[in-house]
């Protein structure tokens, strides 16, 4: 065993030397896996885009257990990977402990802030993007009732819902927002059947636009909305193409861009906190051929104006995670 450890140490050292010449980036996907139809998949898209454009390679690992967070970070660091990108806020605490052990390695964390000199923290103002799609929902609604289907009931998703409700109220103060969460376990991210059920229930209560912020569960929401002839709103990536003419818009959160840029910068990646909001096009609403017919010029004008005001600070969208309360809706 001793012999083996030495061998392992030697190879690690070798890798370090090699890494100095040409460090390979690495990415650690969260428990949902890289095909989660949500932020992991978006991150994967960014990494793949970088690899295709540059012809370089990157290392990757999909977590299957909580204890693997530290294991994967350390393993990639010892192999000399840099930058090491991890997606998901649950890696914040382990990274905060491990980052000082590898001062020469650069880390990037998406969706959380880790205050270490060699870490870049990328956070998104999901509430701002959700505000914009909320406005569109209110304006497109005939009934004055719109729905929100969240995935697992965690603060991050409430942040989506809260911004959405504020946008709805801004466009139509008399509107009603119905909010439901799919579940209380990670299974809630991948339960299209439950998403479909909740959508039907919300339609029953009068909703005619439903916003899904629920990872893979959203597929069921969008499908049911299309089947029932109401409008839906996609999330994270542009999902307008899933049901052309029936998805009102998508709240895009450019995790892919964040990953792509970090990989492009390589070891020179800038550390510190990077806030991706409406102002720097980190979040926004999607407009393409698929939904052009649904967004009237008036709607577009109103949303674009709001976006400009958010960017300039004239409108301040309340962030649920700041004080864990929401002025527009009760969860």
């Amino acid at each position: 065993m001793t012999k083996f450890t030495t061998l392992l140490g030697a190879s690690a050292a070798l890798a370090l030397v090699a890494g100095a010449a040409l460090a390979e980036p690495a990415i650690i996907f969260d428990l949902g896996g890289k095909f989660d139809k949500s932020f992991n998949e978006s991150a994967n898209a960014g990494a793949t885009r970088w690899a295709e454009e540059t012809g370089e390679t990157f290392a990757e690992f999909e977590l299957t257990a909580e204890a693997q967070r530290e294991q994967a970070i350390r393993r990639f660091a010892e192999q000399g990977k840099s930058p090491i990108i991890m997606v998901g806020f649950m890696s914040a605490t382990p990274l905060n402990e491990i980052a000082p052990d590898y001062p020469d390695t650069k880390f990037v964390i998406v969706d959380a802030v880790v205050d270490q000199p060699n870490v870049r923290s990328v956070v998104f103002n999901e509430h701002e993007g959700s505000y914009l799609v909320g406005m569109l929902a209110a304006m497109a609604s005939q009934t004055g009732t719109v729905g929100f289907v969240g995935g697992m009931d965690i603060p991050l998703i409430r942040k989506f819902g809260c911004g959405y409700a504020q946008g709805v109220m801004a466009a139509n103060p008399d509107a009603t927002v119905i909010a439901n969460f799919t579940g209380t376990t990670p299974a809630a991210w991948n339960d299209p059947a439950k998403g479909s059920e909740l959508t039907l229930a919300q339609i029953g209560q009068g909703a005619d636009v439903v916003y899904a912020a629920a990872g893979g569960t959203g597929v069921g929401v969008l499908q049911t909305a299309a089947d029932e002839n109401i409008l839906s709103i996609g999330v994270d990536s542009n999902q307008n193409y899933l049901h052309p003419g029936q998805v009102l818009t998508s709240m895009v959160k450019h995790v892919d861009n964040a990953v792509y840029e970090a990989m492009k910068a390589g070891e020179a990646v800038e550390t510190g906190t990077q806030v991706m909001g409406v102002a720097n096009e980190g979040v926004g609403y999607a407009l393409d051929d698929n939904n052009a017919s649904l967004i009237t010029p008036e709607m577009k004008a109103a949303v674009d104006e709001a976006a400009a005001k958010i960017a300039s600070g004239e409108i301040e969208v309340h962030d649920y995670s700041a004080d864990e309360s929401c002025p527009a809706i009760q969860f």
Binding site: T64, E66, A67, M90, T93, P155
Partner: protein
């Protein structure tokens, strides 16, 4: 009826099952264009080849020992506790409460308190299903599985609200204070320049798990209570005849089972994360069912099976880290092992039994186990290898 020697029952059959599972895994790995031999080497060295590897394998094994013992103990009373996941989840809540809200001068005291708290919370979570089974006949399988969901929901509520420090997105409690940090294997076994178990999560909870194995063994086979639990499990009629109250046995067994499941939380909460996170249990309660099944509900068997599953978890992680075998394939391999050692146990057991029966019958072939051999009433004439009926 002992149809084959005990060593064949506890070692040979699981071994053959494992080899079959490995063989099919190899075919699967070949099919996706990887080298199965290489994969096996990565798994073995990655899970058993260094103190680092063992540090992970034994960490996972510790979880599975507790949940495996929980299922095994309940099995002896013929109760199927599927609620290990929920009981461990709530056990974690107990650990978090004492760790966060009470001051601890030394880790030993914190560990003792965590043992008491996690066991008490786990037992409490099993108490209601136990009561419903004993008094109302509500099936324990249904109630415990329902209580899993209640536990998840309860913890989600607490970790997105009351117990979550404000200003963080993580669904977790604040980190536990210094005084509750129990030593890891690295702290325990590294000496001087040699650092062992570097960066691994294995910790003193492993020894609590080993102790639990010994105590459960004593409970089941050495105590009056264990005698009553087993009697009840084998024959409810005989238990009633002997004045062994079903209510008492069901409730006490389930409380102990829940307590064992609850103890698991020490490992991942106090030992590894040093805070309570939402997804801490990660289905270990269900793995416990496979572990108990494979371990024949014997604490030693549970220990060995738990280490095997620890090996699969850690070996699987290494496989993902070192090859392009996707993590889904790792899950397939784990599932194959569970399937062969658990669900398809009889597929291996029966041919092996027949083999031994044949050897005993001096090479004469024995017909398939249809008809009277399998179902003969015990007081009838000699079935194979029950030499004593023939007076």
């Amino acid at each position: 009826m002992e149809r084959m020697p005990r060593w064949a029952d506890v070692l040979l059959v699981p071994l053959i099952s494992l080899i079959l599972a490995a063989a099919i895994s190899a075919i699967v790995i070949l099919a996706i264009g990887e080298n199965p031999w290489n994969a096996l080497k990565i798994m073995v060295t990655g899970a058993l080849g260094s103190s680092y590897a063992w540090g992970y394998t034994l960490y996972y094994a510790t979880n599975f020992i507790f949940t495996g013992l929980a299922v095994a103990l309940a099995n002896h009373a013929r109760l199927f506790n599927i609620g290990g996941d929920g009981q461990a989840t709530v056990g974690g809540l107990g650990v978090a409460l004492i760790a966060l809200y009470l001051p601890w001068p030394h880790w030993t005291l914190a560990l003792l308190a965590a043992i008491v708290a996690s066991a008490a919370f786990g037992a409490a979570w099993a108490a209601i299903p136990a009561y419903l089974q004993a008094k109302r006949g509500s099936h324990i399988v249904i109630t415990t599985i329902m209580f899993n969901y209640i536990a998840y929901a309860l913890l989600t509520y607490l970790l997105t609200g009351p117990m979550k420090p404000s200003g963080t997105m993580e669904t977790a409690t604040a980190p536990f204070p210094e005084g509750t940090h129990i030593p890891s294997f690295r702290d325990l076994f590294s000496h001087g320049e040699t650092i062992l178990f570097r960066g691994t999560p294995a910790n003193v909870t492993f020894f609590v798990a080993v102790l639990a194995c010994v105590l459960v063994w004593m409970l089941i086979w050495k105590t009056r209570l264990g005698y009553e639990i087993r009697a009840f499990g084998f024959s409810e009629g005989a238990a009633r005849y002997a004045g062994i109250g079903s209510t008492k046995i069901i409730v006490v067994t389930m409380l102990l089972s829940g307590a064992l499941a609850g103890l698991m939380a020490i490992n991942n909460t106090l030992g590894e994360a040093e805070r309570l996170i939402l997804n801490a249990v990660e289905g270990a309660g269900f793995i416990g069912i496979a572990v108990a099944l494979m371990g024949r509900s014997h604490p030693l068997g549970v220990f060995l099976a738990a280490v095997l599953f620890g090996f699969l978890y850690q070996g699987g992680a290494e496989l993902s880290l070192s090859t392009s075998i996707p993590r889904e394939m790792v899950v397939v391999i784990q599932a194959l092992v569970i399937m062969f050692t658990g669900a398809l146990d009889n597929m291996v057991r029966m041919p092996v039994e027949r083999l031994f029966a044949n050897r005993r019958a001096r090479g004469t072939p024995v017909a398939p186990l249809a008809g009277p051999t399998a179902e003969r009433a015990p007081d009838r004439a000699a079935p194979p290898s029950t030499p004593t009926t023939a007076e």
